[in-house]
């Protein structure tokens, strides 16, 4: 009896300790970021990096995720539609399924390496925004495909049957009925992609960013700065260029951007589950 109690108390202590560690880490991150709050002024956000601002990295981040999303959203959606609506269940589709899963687990620096050797060197795009878009699109493709696929599989068979029985062609069924119903899934995929891309460092390190660049890119073949890359440079190579408060401000902007985006994605998904849960 005593032994059992001792074990129970031990487990309580261990579990409590784990939770406490989590809280401490989270609290410390919040504390660190709060030291950046003072830097969050409009002229910090909107002045050039030459004037100790973060305008170029901020806009560069927007450029990066806009372009990459414009590539990955249609590509991922169409692939998911093919996987769910067209392809018969076979060995090949299972292989593709596995490839998608495995691709989602590849470390981003390997995507960076791939982008550097394939897009920058082999295709001759150089260190450019375009290389960054393509590399990011490759990295986000599995996530995009999965979130659309998940929603497509939630649409009941009876809906497809209803459309086809009314004489819709397969493509009419997909475009009039399936795609609008899958919209929330597509949006979730897009927002999650954006959040990942905005927060990504390793994959842009070799493919899209150049610290020596000045000003915003004029063509997709120009390199860009992103918030992540700028933060990396500021910490490793140019300590003291920005005030510590401003470095934390930069980190805070990045943190807020990605958390806001993923919160939106979760809200959209929750709304969708609620809506469909009610009507099925």
């Amino acid at each position: 009896m005593r032994r059992f109690n001792f074990f129970g108390n031990l487990m309580l202590a261990v579990c409590g300790f784990s939770t406490a560690v989590l809280l401490v880490i989270f609290g410390y991150i919040c504390y660190l970021l709060t030291s950046g709050v003072n830097a969050l002024r409009l002229n910090f956000l909107f002045s050039s990096i030459l004037d100790n601002g973060i305008f170029e990295p901020l806009i560069g981040t927007f450029y990066l995720f806009s372009g990459a999303t414009a590539i990955v959203a249609p590509l991922g959606t169409l692939t998911a539609i093919y996987m769910v609506e067209y392809s018969p269940r076979s060995k090949l589709t299972r292989l593709v399924d596995n490839a998608i899963n495995n691709l989602a687990c590849v470390p981003s620096i390997i995507f960076g390496m791939f982008g550097f050797t394939f897009f920058c060197k082999f295709m001759g795009l150089g260190i450019s925004m375009l290389s960054g878009w393509l590399t990011m699109a490759c990295m986000m493709l599995p996530i995009m495909i999965r979130s659309v696929e998940e929603i497509l599989r939630m649409i009941p068979e009876s809906v497809r049957e209803a459309a086809l029985a009314l004489g819709a062609t397969k493509w009419q069924m997909i475009s009039y009925v399936i795609l609008p119903s899958a919209m929330p899934g597509i949006l979730t995929g897009i927002i999650l992609s954006i959040a990942r891309i905005a927060g990504e460092t390793a994959a842009v390190l070799f493919t899209a960013c150049f610290y020596t660049m000045r000003g915003l890119p004029k063509t997709p073949l120009d390199p860009i700065l992103t918030l992540t890359y700028y933060l990396y440079v500021m910490i490793l190579f140019k300590p003291g260029y920005l005030d510590p408060g401003e470095v934390f401000g930069l980190a805070l902007v990045l943190f807020l951007l990605t958390t806001t985006l993923s919160s939106i994605a979760f809200a959209v998904r929750a709304y969708y589950r609620l809506r469909w849960g009610r009507c099925m």
Partner: protein
């Protein structure tokens, strides 16, 4: 509409065996029989929906206005546009009430003011118009199940098909909604050829003009409903109607 030596296989399973059935125009024909006898398969082979089930093979003919709808030069899409269908469970599309009704028109490329008129007409026929005329933009899922089924019937008739197929349209409904749907089906009789699959023998008796009894994939007996129910020719029919099996 007529089936000639119709055979259907799902993989190796022989589901319909040499079914020869002449469906009278402008009448209600009920298909009855125990579960798994091939009623729904027969219905779905009348608009080639059966072909959507993987590994299905169809042999024989289904004639509509003198043409075999399984002819290689006939487009199954065209067939389904001429034959409406109502399913067991109401299956509105995840769209507004209005968009549900006009779906069949939109995919035929019909646009403009005509749509509203035709929606109104179809919803009046199924007796929904007065209840929902102010809620046409609401989601179809907000309707009650009985209303949803009537919406599905409106969706099927708005394109003015020649034949309407109904696969146990009342089995998911409560008795009051069932009564309303039955009343609706009988009111459609003169305008359309209706084929209805039902599990419910009394329902077949109440609403149909002709009845076909199917057992283990074979058409056992077909005739005017009254005659089939009161003086069945086949022993099997008699046994089924009296509840000996089923």
């Amino acid at each position: 509409m007529e089936t000639i030596n119709l055979n259907v296989w799902y993989g190796k399973l022989h589901v319909l065996k040499d079914v020869n059935l002449k469906i009278p125009s402008g009448k209600i024909t009920a298909i009855i029989g125990p579960s798994g006898c091939g009623k729904s398969t027969l219905l779905k082979s009348l608009n080639r929906l059966v072909e959507l089930i993987p590994e299905t093979r169809v042999q024989g003919k289904v004639m509509l206005n003198g043409h075999n709808i399984y002819d290689s030069n006939i487009d199954p899409i065209e067939v389904r546009r001429r034959i409406g269908m109502v399913f067991q469970k109401p299956n509105p599309l995840p769209k507004s009430i209005f968009e549900n009704v006009v779906f069949g028109l939109r995919i035929r490329g019909i646009r403009g003011n005509e749509l509203h008129e035709r929606v109104k007409k179809a919803l009046e026929v199924v007796g929904l118009w007065n209840d929902i005329k102010n809620r046409l933009r609401d989601s179809a899922f907000n309707l009650s199940v009985g209303q949803q089924q009537r919406l599905c019937i409106a969706r099927a008739i708005v394109t003015e098909p020649e034949v309407i197929l109904m696969d146990e349209p009342c089995s998911a409904l409560d008795p009051i909604s069932t009564a309303k749907i039955e009343e609706l089906i009988t009111s459609l009789r003169s305008k359309y050829t209706i084929v209805i699959v039902t599990h419910n023998i009394q329902q077949a008796y109440r609403i149909s003009d002709y009845t076909a009894f199917l057992y283990m994939g074979r058409l056992i007996e077909f005739g005017p409903t009254k005659q089939l129910f009161e003086r069945p020719k086949e022993k099997l029919t008699k046994a089924y109607l009296s509840g000996t099996f089923g």
